[in-house]
Symmetry: C3
Subunit: 341 residues, 3 copies
Amino acid sequence: MADPRFFTPKGPFSLARLAELAVADLAPGADLAKEFTHVAPLETAGPEAVGFLDNRRYVDVFCQSRAGACVVRPAMADKAPAGMELLLAKEPYPAYARIARAFFPSSDPVSEVSPSAVVDSTARLSPDCRVEAGAFIGAGAEIGRRSTIRANAVIDAGVVIGNDCVVGACASLSHCLIGNRVVIYPGARIGQDGFGFATSKDGHLRIPQVGRVVIYDDVEIGANTTIDRGSGPDTVIGRGCMIDNLVQIAHNVQLGEGCIIVAQVGISGSTKLEDHVVAGGQAGLTGHLKIGKGSRIAAQAGVMRDTEPGQNYGGSPAVPAREWHRQTVALARLAAGKGTK
Amino acid sequence: MADPRFFTPKGPFSLARLAELAVADLAPGADLAKEFTHVAPLETAGPEAVGFLDNRRYVDVFCQSRAGACVVRPAMADKAPAGMELLLAKEPYPAYARIARAFFPSSDPVSEVSPSAVVDSTARLSPDCRVEAGAFIGAGAEIGRRSTIRANAVIDAGVVIGNDCVVGACASLSHCLIGNRVVIYPGARIGQDGFGFATSKDGHLRIPQVGRVVIYDDVEIGANTTIDRGSGPDTVIGRGCMIDNLVQIAHNVQLGEGCIIVAQVGISGSTKLEDHVVAGGQAGLTGHLKIGKGSRIAAQAGVMRDTEPGQNYGGSPAVPAREWHRQTVALARLAAGKGTK
Amino acid sequence: MADPRFFTPKGPFSLARLAELAVADLAPGADLAKEFTHVAPLETAGPEAVGFLDNRRYVDVFCQSRAGACVVRPAMADKAPAGMELLLAKEPYPAYARIARAFFPSSDPVSEVSPSAVVDSTARLSPDCRVEAGAFIGAGAEIGRRSTIRANAVIDAGVVIGNDCVVGACASLSHCLIGNRVVIYPGARIGQDGFGFATSKDGHLRIPQVGRVVIYDDVEIGANTTIDRGSGPDTVIGRGCMIDNLVQIAHNVQLGEGCIIVAQVGISGSTKLEDHVVAGGQAGLTGHLKIGKGSRIAAQAGVMRDTEPGQNYGGSPAVPAREWHRQTVALARLAAGKGTK
């Protein structure tokens, strides 16, 4: 059960209401009025909690769980332990997400500008935004409705932040325009100069970086992730992108809509990702590439060429995933002294 | 010699006292009363300094060193330059550690809450803790005895920090419970939401992350490292773990006792490391794995399967180390146009 | 055109003046008096803007650009669209850099110590330095002429910062000496303890790290990069080094002059890079290596041995680049069921 020092669930919700929220079916004989007070992992859930089963690795945990209800695929129904109510959904994870969000909704912030925040007199703060202790807001910056600037964050001059955003503790933003419902995690660095210099006989000459970072609606930027501003063009993060922790996004990179960028990925300058690209953890993409719509890049892959839409890639240097798997098998066989067939 | 702007050594200590501290043997004829004032690298140490030799790469440096004393393996004794006192230990590095800690002990902080810190009225601070300038302490948070919160760090509501801890400058902690003698380096991010969302036809649905981060005693968390809180279960860091800089630890990861996680490692969600696992720099572990007790993962390895206790792994995808070395050799021979034997 | 919320160009400059600044030749019949007001990417530049063409990938963009002037190699002159003035340079990128720097020079900061900064009474601040809101300056620290400490940065006791430096928002510095014209990006962590401990039967014994970080003139340190102080020797960053974001530099590492370290590189303890080494993104170097002058390490390479001066390396474990390419080709052929010739 969620630690009450940190979380306060809404509810309780009846089974009928949960099915409605989750867009899930109920099993015959379900007790529609039965009430539930929270969500919990199947291992530790008790009779008042709702859990979920999505990953087959955890079927045994499901079979022995004491959870009062569980979101599962219909095919798993007959493995459920006695007494467990079932919320049947073809895609249990988004169904569970809707239930968990009902118990733990994001709430509007308490509007307040901390007396220890430093806000430039020309900054424009919406009346219902929140600026916490030690935050800095520079000249001409704009903070939208119900947006929160957490403690010790730094918002530089001219930055525009839309509505319902959160900028995490100790994050810093400059030279950027941020849409609505954007969540920036603690320590993220957005809008600093890119790594732009020309090497000459006089040494490395820094080149002024006169673009911006433009972040569209519904984006998340992970903790300690760095996004450099463009050198002249902008660096662009498309609507609905999810970017994990410790990711590096270089100047002029463009991400389409709904991309998923897992932790510690690095994307070099001027590379363009079309919509719905997925890059696994620690993958690296060199500069000036075009990554086709819906390409999936495996963890630790090193992408050095453009990719085809909808295709999977892996390895370093990256190749189409099937080829990568063949290489892996061929190398193992070679090392074992076997032939390739 | 350590720069006096930054370090003030204790001492001097006699050779006899150093041998006692280090649990080291002395060579016949050692001058027990000879005094030493500091520790220093063998390259630059003078007659009043104590150095050490652990890595064979540096034997030549040892032979030419002017250090007054040196911690070495007994087998090296006959290579010592004339006039150098020897502290003989089978394991020179921990022996040297004990001597260096005598010269440079960690001292209790000066208790003080900076007038520019912002501390919620419901936070519970021990009377001998230290809270520096610009730090923020949220509602209900607890800071233990002799613990220090460095400048501009952010401790969110409900966080519990034990005794003799240090939270570095500009670090941020939320939704976490921290044991005793835990050192959190500058810029570390602990307890933010994990990268948890369900992809549906409505886009990426964020899933409330209602677990915590639980950190046991004697842990170190490196600079700019990120540790996400659990999604329902907790993220757990076991007693005595040493975590380097820029490491990513995802939600629900569990580390056993005494694990060593080198810089830039990434550990994906729900993976469990048993005790004393060592992960080399930039290694990546995918999610939902079980890493056996004492497994050693090579730098840059990409672990995609469970590992056996006590075994070494390398490569991407990772395989047992012997196999990895065979693969490396076989590929080099293949590229050179040679056979596999 | 650069967003006026963030950038205010100098100028206008005549074509003759731009040629002089860039040390570029003009084409016959050039309109020497024609004036230009800013720089812009070739895609979006209009008749008053100056662009550049360096990468062949963008020749088509050049041919269709509406830019009033463009810095290009002489060989490209005949592909220019009608009406475009040409600034001809064998190396267009540094030539463009000089023009862009004329439009967007770095200007001296407005001298001021924010009333919300916390500055120790024994710190020595030059009269024309700038210390922004929420910054902390510890006992005995020194800040040179025209140097800026951005908002919420932390400069610990004894740190020395030269002239014309910038320390970014939320960065933290301790135990370090910084030269002139050094730029430290937001969230960088410099001078904390290295990852130094000895493993013994009593657990992991932390070893006091009594060295410093010494950074020479004209260095850039990227956002959220971490540089640990030496254990006894110093960690040293040579003059003119360019270090990108999220780089890890461990204790006792030494970088020669003019090294280029791309994002997410990790360099392990005591490794020495000679002058002008280039390390590509996500490359990893193990400890105690000597990397020869001008060595070039490919992205994602894993260097485990010393390298020869002037040579290129790639792969993990890294080998000379030619060998790496042969391995890549040989493995692809093997996987395709073909021979090695």
